[in-house]
Symmetry: C2
Subunit: 332 residues, 2 copies
């Protein structure tokens, strides 16, 4: 129940705001065509034999990026990649059409706009995505509002369908992007970074959607999401959110050698992996039987835990249970 | 050919910027599924028997609206209506799913957000649109980024297919919304407006998409668009843009009695009608034969001109040709 006070939304916080919206205004009716809903990585509906999947993301200067820390073509490319990632998280879906809404200050240089678009275009060309439209409006800060449409010709893989006993799998490594932004906060962009540090920053600025991996994984996985908000949030989404539980073996969380070089303590590494966000890797569940098959197809998969019916997610490190408290990003 | 200077985009202007983007970065390939492209009111593609139509609009505080001049629920409602209007302009298309991206300052009051969403929701309920998703980000100014998806089960009516000899039809009246914003610029919101003035301001703040009219018109029309950028731009879009021409009889442009009461000079009224924008009425072409039939179905239709092959649009008032120069809105 929302109390109608004239409080400013900074006091309510983002999650409070989203709950106001969900409780009072979302009108999802029993539309039998909807195959994945607002709680998933993309919204999907059936059209004939196809699933049309749509995802929308808004990036705002000084909130999601700093102009000084990322090159304009990287920013363009990243804006597309993070949306492809949301499409990938639905399984076997092909990203097809993108709409790019831009808010730009009149002071923005033509070179900046050109390079930003080069980035959009490069990423789109790589995936065969058509830039289908968009608009440009005046804004103090740069706003990039992307809508990406994908077409799925097979069953959509949702977040909700993990089974008790399923293994929890992830792709590649975790924590790099979060460590990268941490370095930028500490030293800015002009600091003389070593090779390992450069790698972490590049993982922050140049994420890659695991589209082809998602196509393969979706053949066998029971649920699937991306790790854009950090591994901790993703595991909660697949397990706790749907009244299931999980046990996570933190020793199995894959950490890159570069992250180990730059942040030497296990605790730091795992902190970035769980809460650092922006890794854009896949997190999924799969039956024990199919898990080995998938690992053979994609060697960059690690299994970090198992789904149970406990309605809580428990973390273990060297066999001992750890108390993990959420410490994620908060918009407002 | 774009010259790569480090000029700021305020010097290039919005149209310059759009041309940079179109020339260099739009990669619309020969996708046989695309049924209406970036130049139309919505982007449409074929999926099975359906046409999926998508439109995206971004409204920014102080650029597209002033918080003082429009109530939050009106703003919410208008944001939906203007997008429904873009869907309506594709013919027989049903608006189905909407994604609402919001940029909000942390200082925004909870009451404002609540009322804004009431507006979104009211408009959506009226059309049976499902609020399918969206996101909220921090932003200095309010940004409303709407993506609306419609499903068309019949042929899409594009802007491009007018024939020589077709009549140019419009719905309802023109100029009211432009006159409304003119009043707000002159006197602000707290001024004691008379009834006719109130009507004009309400047409600015509470536009209605002509969805049902579009469904009827699309049975017979050869081309169709909306008049969101003013009648002048719309007629150019249907005629000149596609190397056709038109003759417009300015005496036939429908002007409301309220606009006539508030702005007494014909010239003022016609200026608002041609350039005032935000009327969100439909502008279409139809063969002479079917024109009468349509007028019988929708009494609020007026025929204001005729399509020819001259590649120019000529305006006549009391039988005399008038030189009309574009004086529209410019973002940057």
């Amino acid at each position: 129940m929302v109390v109608m006070k004239n409080e400013s939304i900074s006091k309510i916080g983002e999650f409070g705001l989203i709950s106001i919206i969900k409780n009072k205004f979302i009108n999802v009716n029993n539309d039998k065509y909807i195959t994945a809903n607002i709680g998933d990585d993309s919204f999907c509906f059936k059209s004939g034999k196809d699933n049309i999947c749509i995802t929308k993301d808004m990036l705002v200067e000084e909130v999601h990026f700093k102009k000084e820390w990322i090159k304009p073509h990287e920013l363009g490319q990243k804006s597309i990649e993070v949306n492809v990632c949301d499409i990938a998280a639905m399984g076997n879906v092909i990203p097809k059409y993108v709409f790019i809404g831009l808010g730009l200050s009149p002071k923005t240089s033509e070179v900046f706009v050109n390079n930003l678009y080069k980035g959009f275009r490069n990423a789109c060309d790589e995936y065969g995505i058509t830039i289908a439209g968009g608009d440009i409006v005046k804004s103090d800060k740069i706003v990039i509002s992307i809508t990406l449409v994908g077409i799925g010709r097979q069953k959509i893989i949702k977040r909700s369908d993990a089974n008790e006993g399923d293994l929890i799998g992830v792709t590649n490594t975790f924590g790099d992007a979060g460590a990268g932004i941490d370095l930028l906060y500490k030293h800015g962009i002009k600091y003389k970074y070593n090779k390992a540090e450069h790698y972490l920053i590049s993982k922050q600025n140049n994420p890659k959607a695991r589209l082809k991996e998602a196509w393969k994984i979706s053949k066998y996985s029971t649920s699937l999401t991306d790790a854009s908000d950090g591994l901790y949030v993703s595991v909660n989404l697949l397990a706790k959110h749907f009244k299931k539980g999980a046990e996570i073996n933190m020793n199995k969380i894959p950490i890159s050698s570069n992250l180990k070089k730059v942040f030497k303590k296990d605790k730091e590494q795992l902190n970035f992996a769980l809460f650092g966000a922006e890794d854009y890797e896949l997190v999924f569940t799969v039956s024990n039987l199919k898990a080995k098959l998938l690992k053979k197809m994609i060697s960059e998969i690690s299994y970090i835990g198992i789904i149970n019916s406990s309605n809580e997610v428990r973390y273990f490190y060297n066999g001992k249970e750890q108390k993990i408290k959420y410490s994620g990003y908060r918009h407002f």
